[in-house]
């Protein structure tokens, strides 16, 4: 069991512009952390530095107390014990599935190699697939083999580079769950790079939101979702409702009424953030007009224009919406909001 500690990591391709700008991140042993950020935020660079494909300009990367990257230290990738699962799997097309999985199992006996390969394929739900060639597998199967290949040498850390991107959504959830289970089973620490909020929140134990080469917020998925540190993070990790507010007696006065505030934030005013599922359509509440309805199957998003707000607010409604654009509706709020400076 190995933890990952990254401290003050800096990387410039084109000085002085910094792609990684003093990045700090700690992942406790055995947990899966998602690095979430928009494209260009430096998440792929972070992954390549941790893997050892790029040299950092400053900062350290420690694996279980072992400095793999630091001042005067640059351990080559093959000596880091860091496995990677690239986008689209990147299986070796000239090798069978078994040979792919066994690729990193050097210095072990043939029998042990075969046992471990079988074990890994079983772990990712593909027992008996060893004899196939990569092009005979579906995308999801290729991705599972890539995970088995990365896990086979029992690495201290596994890096997953947007591994589920190429999969269709029906398949994605299943593969994601299996990968997570496989990681848990081997006890490896994991770092998942993604730009997909759903994926980060649903798969990871820990979510680190990256912005401009730094970690803007790091916490459990719930923390990051429920208690975003600022408006940008709030907007990035999920759908959000922003309401102007003034603070009175620990509650926020907003166009949707008074809302209790989470945490001990104090101030005279600012913007409060709610999630659409905290808003409820009902007979009581602030009155407004439905301007748009988007149906997603398991739920629907109803956009309601309310007096005193420039933009309509989004309300998540379970099941069919039951209202149509142009109709009147009343909006009320449940739970707490977070307050942020304007």
């Amino acid at each position: 069991m190995t933890d990952l500690r990254i401290g003050g990591l800096v990387k410039c391709y084109d000085p002085p512009a910094r792609v990684l700008d003093g990045l700090d991140l700690t992942v406790p042993a055995g947990l899966l952390a998602a690095v979430l950020g928009p494209s260009g935020c430096g998440k792929t660079t972070l992954l390549r530095v941790v893997a050892g494909f790029l040299r950092a300009d400053a900062g350290t990367v420690e694996l279980g107390g072992r400095v793999v990257c630091g001042p005067g230290v640059h351990l080559p990738p093959e000596r880091r014990r860091v496995g990677i699962v690239p986008q689209e799997g990147a299986l070796f097309p000239h090798l069978s599935v078994a040979a792919n999985v066994a690729f990193g199992l050097t210095g072990t006996g043939r029998a042990e190699r075969r046992r471990r390969t079988g074990e890994m394929l079983e772990l990712v739900g593909l027992p008996g697939y060893g004899g196939r060639m990569p092009h005979e597998l579906s995308g999801g199967q290729q991705q599972r083999v890539a995970v088995a290949r990365a896990l086979a040498p029992a690495p201290d850390l596994v890096l997953l580079d947007e591994p589920f991107n190429a999969l269709d959504s029906a398949l994605r959830a299943g593969v994601r769950a299996d990968v997570r289970a496989a990681l848990r089973a081997t006890g490896a620490t994991g770092l998942l790079v993604t730009h997909d909020q759903q994926e980060a929140l649903s798969t990871a134990d820990l979510v680190a939101v990256l912005r401009d080469g730094r970690v803007a917020q790091c916490g459990t998925p719930e923390e990051v979702y429920r208690r975003p540190v600022d408006l940008w993070v709030a907007g990035f990790v999920g759908d959000a409702v922003f309401l102007p507010a003034t603070v009175e007696d620990g509650t926020a006065a907003t166009p949707l009424g008074r809302i209790p505030l989470a945490g001990d934030r104090r101030g005279s005013g600012g913007v409060v953030v709610l999630r659409p599922e905290q808003l409820v359509l009902g007979p009581a509440g602030t009155r407004g007009t439905v301007v748009d309805v988007r149906f997603y199957g398991h739920d629907a998003m109803v956009h309601v224009a309310v007096d005193g707000l420039d933009e309509p607010v989004a309300v998540r409604v379970p099941g069919p919406a039951g209202v149509r654009p142009g109709e009147e509706a009343a909006v009320s709020v449940t739970g707490e909001a977070t307050l942020h400076p304007r």
Partner: protein, 512 residues
């Protein structure tokens, strides 16, 4: 656990020192003839060399040589690209057969092609004949890489262009052609260098070029300084050409980033153009393959002197196979690091190494051979006029052919596979052995086959460096044609073309 200090700079994307060292050795070998040229050119002082090299005559030869190179390259591009497109991307009837036929002219030595043409139509002598003969033997240098690139292209882009309102021709011009540019430019460079260094076709067609002037200088003056001075000018020209090609190639990598294999493109329907397409393919095949073979057949039956010795033919063929195979193996081994560095590391060192590999290629075979004589007699006497020296000389002459093939092959496989292998515990060299080379193997083997063919056809260096008493098919062919015994020469030419046709055939069939 204590921090491990990285002792090697081989980490990250930096190339392994062993790879760089190996590539440096290859480049140094390729630069040997230049050392000799410099020494010989400056024998009587720089002023003397300058006086010889910088004259109106030099300028005229430069214009004549470049003119020929431009016309041949242009013709090769037209033939090579059109045949590649027709055989790979259209519903051409018999595409497989055509793709093999399109590759076969590789097996025909330029002097045989030129001789076949001029003996049939003496009026071709001069620029037209030289351009015709050289185009017909060298267009496969363009056809092969372009066909390979066409197979690797993602058809989705062309479909997107069609959906945006572009017709097939416009799509080809605006979407397909730009992506074929690196392959076409690489092939075009090899053709240009081939034209610059060719002696056989231009001498038979009586078209004075730089290389012919160099040969004449050796023959006429028995003074090696003028030939060396002219050779230096040729080297400068080569460097400029290589530089120009590198500019054309630009920074565009053409590796597919995804790991999966691209969808196969559907074949374009030719409709009524089918007959025109078939006519074009037939015309090229007739001129490039059928005509020289037919001429050989005519020699066999109608020649004046008909001594034909199967035993000797067999022995000669065996010797040719051995030296050409060894030449191809050594050339490929030396080209490997240079091609990999050129494909994977775009630094200045990699670029310089690749340039160096090309530097000696446009120098005529006689000059490279004399350089090897000069150096071997002084520093490697035990191998002088032994097979190893001949094989080494082949490597110097044909390194670029193998480098181009290796580079293209390595570019075809996504670099992420190498990253994965590193992360699974492989050192850079192990990655080379377990991933890079196996993945590029078909392309590298194709390069080796191509090198094998050109080694088999090589004449001027073989004449000087072969062990005394050893013959290759090319030297026998030369010996018989100098005494005008065409009937005796024909079997050697036929066997030469037949053996060379085997790898050419495989090259043509590859993934066709």
């Amino acid at each position: 656990m204590p921090a491990n200090r990285s002792s090697s700079p081989g980490a990250g994307r930096r190339p392994s020192p062993l790879l760089v060292g190996w590539a440096c050795a290859a480049a140094a070998l390729a630069l040997l003839p230049l050392v000799y040229l410099g020494l010989r050119a400056l024998e009587h002082g720089p002023a003397h060399a300058w006086r010889i090299a910088v004259t109106g005559r030099t300028l005229e030869l430069l214009v004549r040589s470049l003119g020929l190179a431009v016309v041949v390259v242009a013709a090769c591009l037209v033939i090579g690209v059109s045949l590649a497109w027709l055989t790979v991307r259209t519903a051409l009837p018999g595409a497989r057969t055509w793709s093999v036929l399109a590759t076969l002219p590789l097996a025909v030595p330029s002097y045989v092609a030129a001789f076949a043409w001029i003996s049939t139509e003496p009026g071709l002598a001069g620029f037209a004949g030289a351009a015709l003969a050289l185009t017909l033997v060298s267009y496969p240098y363009v056809y092969l890489p372009v066909a390979a690139a066409l197979r690797g292209l993602d058809p989705a882009q062309e479909e997107a262009a069609r959906s945006l309102g572009h017709g097939p021709l416009r799509t080809f011009r605006r979407v397909t052609l730009p992506q074929l540019r690196p392959a076409a430019a690489g092939g075009g460079l090899l053709v240009a260098l081939y034209v610059l260094s060719d002696f056989g076709a231009v001498s038979i067609m009586r078209y004075e070029t730089f290389t012919r002037a160099i040969f004449t200088a050796y023959r006429a003056s028995f003074d090696r300084t003028p030939a060396a001075a002219l050779g230096c000018v040729l080297v400068v020209m080569t460097v400029l050409l290589v530089w120009a090609e590198a500019r054309t190639r630009g920074r565009a990598g053409h590796a597919r980033t995804g790991g999966g294999s691209a969808r196969r493109a559907s074949s374009a329907r030719l409709g009524r153009l089918r007959w025109a397409a078939l006519g074009w393919c037939s015309a090229v095949a007739a001129a490039g393959v059928v005509f020289p073979l037919g001429t050989l057949g005519y020699w066999l039956t109608a020649g004046r002197s008909g001594a034909w010795e199967p035993g000797r033919l067999l022995e000669t063929a065996g010797a040719t196979l051995a030296v050409a195979a060894a030449g191809a193996a050594l050339t490929t081994a030396l080209a490997l690091p240079v091609g990999i560095l050129a494909a994977r590391h775009r630094g200045r060192v990699a670029h310089l190494l690749e340039q160096a590999a090309y530097a000696g290629h446009a120098v005529p075979g006689i000059t490279v051979a004399l350089a090897m004589v000069f150096l071997a007699v002084r520093y490697a006497y035990p191998i002088y006029q032994e097979p190893p020296l001949l094989v080494l000389c082949y490597a110097v002459l044909f390194l670029p052919v193998a480098v181009a093939a290796t580079r293209a092959a390595v570019l075809q496989s996504p670099p992420v596979l190498e990253d994965v292998a590193r992360s699974l515990g492989d050192s850079p060299l192990r990655v080379l052995r377990r991933v890079t080379v196996p993945l590029a193997a078909p392309g590298i083997a194709a390069g080796a086959a191509l090198t094998f063919v050109v080694c088999m056809k090589e004449l001027p260096a073989t004449l000087l460096l072969r062990p005394t008493g050893m013959d290759t098919l090319a030297t026998r062919l030369w010996a018989e044609t100098t005494t005008a015994s065409y009937a005796a020469a024909a079997p050697y030419a036929a066997v030469l073309i037949l053996i060379a046709a085997v790898p050419s055939y495989l090259l043509g069939r590859r993934r066709a």
